[in-house]
Symmetry: C2
Subunit: 131 residues, 2 copies
């Protein structure tokens, strides 16, 4: 998206989508935001209900958790199961697609863990040189 939409786009109702022809963008636009990755991680070991998920992540607003879940569902990474009981109960779980995404994601997170210190060091070094 982004790239020169320029013209009419008659007020798409939020849950509209914006296909990028570029596969990488389609994935990274989802992963890159603040919460998607945290949600996927929380759901990997177990199915969770909305509020359990919320507590598990910690400081996410319900507003953003709802949005994030909806988009993850749209993209087929997460499944949503509604039980028609009172009070309502909704289970979220990873789909096979979501589970397969976790594989490369795990590697990336492992890299981040291992190289976190190097990145911090680089940032400090930068402050010296570029006084």
């Amino acid at each position: 998206m982004v790239a020169r939409q320029t013209e009419i786009k008659p007020s798409v109702a939020d849950d509209e989508f914006s296909f990028s022809p570029c596969p990488i963008r389609n994935v990274l636009d989802r992963i890159g935001d603040q919460w998607s990755l945290l949600v996927l991680e929380a759901l990997e070991p177990q199915t969770l209900r909305f509020n359990a998920l919320r507590r598990s992540i910690g400081d996410v607003s319900q507003h953003m958790l709802a949005r994030t879940l909806k988009r993850l569902e749209q993209d087929g990474f997460v499944s949503r199961t509604l039980y028609p009981v009172i009070p309502p109960r909704v289970d979220y779980a990873l789909t096979p697609l979501g589970r397969s995404l976790m594989v490369p994601l795990r590697d990336l997170m492992t890299w981040a863990d291992r190289n976190h210190d190097a990145v911090c060091a680089a940032r400090r070094a930068y402050r010296h040189t570029a006084s």
Copy 2:
């Protein structure tokens, strides 16, 4: 960051940093934006100058390319070499750290390529069900 900064933060001058205690955030906040990944990809096979990089990527504004490069440099993923000639010449290249980051990133991009269709299909399916 984000998490309840709440208080005073005396106008940090753009190139200031915001250490997240979470390694994943530090990496994803860099990777997740619009251009960082494209820049890293463009620099993987070869060192490039500013405008060559810009053409290579295509539609990035020079404003954002400059910002992106500065941050990638701060984090130690990209090196910047200035040759004091006229007109000025600046070379950008991947550092070893940046190169090592490309490994898990490649896997992620490969996944994205292979599963792009599945994601698009999921999005279309969603529109049906949730008419």
